[in-house]
């Protein structure tokens, strides 16, 4: 970005010849893109590519592993077991009267989707610098493909969660899934949107400041503790609850758990707040991404 801006003088001198001068051209490569020129149509045209990226990510990750795609199940299962033992049995944190296993699993499954979207998209430029340096294709196709491949992983984990729900229900635990489950796609969309938004903000900034990568790893772990995953929001004092509600993930996790397990809360105002944060993050992220994309090869 530095290079571009400090040459501003030269640029303005030439802007007479700028994009407006001629419209018979199919494409004009210029120094700076207009801020809102997001080229979403181009992204749509590269949907084949997005599909292939998803396939590549999915196939390649677990090739040459013994358990293969089973890892998608083992990861949330182990996390849930560890939480159950540590926070449920040892620390004895309250879980709103639900079996702690299901309680933790619900939170983990949906939070993991956000966390993996965030960490993977935040590495977009750094991990793909080799590819980006050789050929042009709409760069946003990479983060978008990440959202989709993580959605597949989420679907597998979510199915596992449903299996356990069934198991607990048969054993006689009282669960209260309700009509709010219809909200699931919206909740997922918000998680994906938040992951994408913050992820591409970070990835745009990591082209210059590599330290942000460490911040992301660390930040996600911390975020897990300030999101009501291992404890219900209701267990906090009102003062802390108000603070917790600033976290846009809080209402989503709470709503998800309420929909499937019947504990927690659905707060529309809160959800609207989260949605607003998501929209702002995505807009900021895409604009930043769009600017960085043009010259990041010079700085990465």
């Amino acid at each position: 970005m530095d290079t571009g801006s400090s040459m501003a003088k030269t640029k303005t001198a030439l802007s007479i010849l700028g994009p407006a001068a001629s419209d018979k051209w199919d494409m004009i490569i210029g120094p700076q893109r207009r801020v809102f020129d997001l080229r979403l149509r181009e992204l749509w045209h590269s949907r084949d590519l997005i599909g292939l990226f998803v396939r590549r990510d999915f196939v390649s990750v677990y090739k040459q592993t013994i358990l293969g795609p089973l890892w998608y199940l083992i990861q949330p299962l182990l996390t849930t077991i560890v939480f159950t033992v540590v926070f449920g049995n040892i620390a004895k944190l309250p879980t709103d009267g639900l079996p702690s296993f299901l309680f933790y699993m619900a939170g983990t499954v949906i939070f993991t989707y956000f966390a993996s979207c965030l960490t993977k998209t935040s590495e977009t430029f750094v991990t793909n610098s080799n590819l980006f340096g050789k050929v042009y294709f709409p760069r946003l196709s990479v983060p978008v493909s990440i959202l989709i491949s993580n959605l597949i992983a989420f679907a597998i984990q979510f199915a596992l969660f449903l299996v356990f729900m069934g198991y607990f229900a048969i054993k006689g635990t009282l669960l209260h899934p309700n009509w709010w489950v219809l909200l699931t796609p919206v909740l997922l969309l918000m998680m994906a949107g938040l992951g994408l938004g913050f992820g591409i903000i970070v990835s745009s900034m990591t082209t210059k400041y590599r330290d942000l990568r460490f911040l992301v790893q660390f930040g996600v772990t911390l975020l897990q503790y300030v999101t009501p995953i291992i404890y219900p929001l209701s267990s906090m004092s009102p003062k802390y609850q108000a603070l917790m509600r600033l976290n846009p993930l809080t209402s989503i996790v709470e709503a998800f758990r309420y929909a499937y397990l019947g504990s927690g809360s659905v707060n529309f105002l809160q959800l609207a707040y989260s949605f607003g944060v998501m929209v702002i993050a995505i807009i900021a992220g895409v604009l930043l991404f769009n600017q960085v994309e043009a010259t990041f090869m010079d700085t990465v």
Partner: protein, 428 residues
């Protein structure tokens, strides 16, 4: 009817030297904030006292480049390393944006800066064909349609469902090139990608490139290989220090390129910054063409002996070093290759060379070369160990044919050699 499909207008690209960004996030935020409020040149604001010349902190990889290409034209781009060719290609490929100026393009443009971009080792050949094709901008249906053709061209049918990490490097490159070769953009930008694979495959690839040009598509072709430039392009531009030095018919451009950059005609001197770090401990000093009196010349006579000498330094002792000279015609045909330790005795004597200053001089006999222009390439290597230094186009020179056999006829005589051969005519 000429129809301009690429128009490059006042294109410049600057890279900041030294560290990127002002160093800390907070400084950058200040700069950004100043910029956002429309303050002029915010970088100056946080700079230290005053260096005066901000210009010095930038490297102009490209400066005010202007040219255009007509539909169906095949334009070669030549220049030494660092002349700005790659930067130009990167901007054309939209990998990076210019600092100022514009490139206007009509039609779909595809660039090949590398073959096999995005190949994933774990995926099979088939999967990689689709992935790579999509990355290069092909639609799925397009790849479906051409799949058999690609497979045929690549010669790896048998292994198409094997992960490419099990491929030999030759197979890998063939498959990768096969995908690239079947792109069908209106405009194709090609870097040195043809310099891959074995000789036979290279020939096939060059043929394919030739076909592309024949089909009336526009091609921009960058190469260090003057013979492929001459073979594939009718016109070329020469880049020098980020500027466009000339645009001319390919033979003239190649000629200009080959003779430009020499401090003195008949001599090529290497400056320290031109020598890649990987050449250590070999430091080339100069390559000279000498006439029979030992004078540096640009033109030698066919009927007189001449010599070529390579001056170099070794900063550390080297075992097995050999200095090679390649003589090629300006058309790119190889004439001969010779090494300073070709002679068995010389080879025994110089198994290793201590650090120091050397000259390896090769004497060429009279009545050897035909009229024309020649290029000397130089190479310093240890056989099967390492190549320290290589410059394929170090020096160009002319051969003047006056007095050579057959000069009584003014017709041009093909071939690189013009020896004085013994003819006997028997009348029976």
């Amino acid at each position: 009817m000429s129809n301009t499909v690429i128009s490059v207008e006042n294109l410049s690209k600057a890279y900041r030297l030294g560290q990127i960004s002002s160093g800390t996030l907070s400084d950058d935020i200040k700069v950004w904030w100043a910029k956002a409020r429309g303050k002029p040149n915010p970088l100056l604001k946080i700079g230290q006292e005053d260096h005066g010349n901000r210009e010095g902190e930038y490297l102009w990889a490209l400066r005010d480049i202007n040219f255009s290409v007509d539909e169906g034209g095949v334009l070669g781009i030549i220049g030494r390393n660092g002349a700005g060719k790659s930067t130009l290609l990167k901007i054309l490929s939209r990998v990076t944006a210019p600092t100022s100026g514009y490139i206007k393009v009509k039609g779909r443009i595809a660039s090949l800066l590398e073959v096999g971009t995005g190949f994933h080792p774990e995926l099979t050949g088939r999967e990689n064909v689709y992935l790579n094709g999509a990355i290069l901008g092909m639609k799925r249906s397009e790849i479906d349609r051409k799949f058999d053709e690609i497979l045929d061209f690549s010669e790896v049918e048998q292994f198409i469902d094997t992960p490419v990490k099990r491929y030999s490097s030759g197979m890998y490159v063939r498959l990768a090139f096969a995908v690239a070769a079947h792109l069908e953009p209106e405009i194709l930008v090609v870097d040195e990608v043809l310099a891959v694979g074995d000789a036979e495959f290279q020939r096939k690839s060059l043929g394919k490139m030739g076909d592309v040009a024949q089909q009336g598509r526009t091609v921009l072709f960058v190469s260090h290989n003057m013979s492929s430039i001459l073979r594939l392009t009718q016109e070329a531009i020469v880049m020098e220090h980020g500027r466009l030095a000339m645009r001319a018919a390919s033979p003239a451009a190649v000629d200009y390129y080959l003779s430009a950059g020499n401090a003195q005609a008949g001599e090529r001197v290497w400056e320290d910054e031109e020598i890649p770090a990987s050449a250590q401990p070999f430091r080339p000093v100069a390559l000279r063409l000498l006439d029979r009196k030992g004078k540096v010349v640009e033109t030698v006579r066919s009927v007189e002996p001449f010599s070529i000498e390579m001056e170099y330094r070794l900063t550390a002792p080297l075992t097995g070093l050999r200095i090679g000279l390649y003589l090629n015609s300006a058309r790119g045909d190889q004439v001969l290759t010779t090494f300073d330790t070709d002679d068995g005795e010389r080879f025994e004597e110089y198994t290793s060379r201590p650090a120091g200053h050397y000259i390896s001089r090769c004497e060429f006999p009279k009545d050897l070369l035909n009229d024309g222009r020649y290029i000397i390439g130089v190479n310093a290597s240890s056989y099967r160990v390492r190549r320290y230094f290589m410059d394929e186009q170090a020096l160009a020179f002319n051969v003047d044919p006056s007095g050579a056999p057959g000069m009584q006829w003014s017709e041009p005589r093909p071939g690189a050699l013009r020896p004085r051969l013994e003819w006997k005519i028997e009348n029976q």
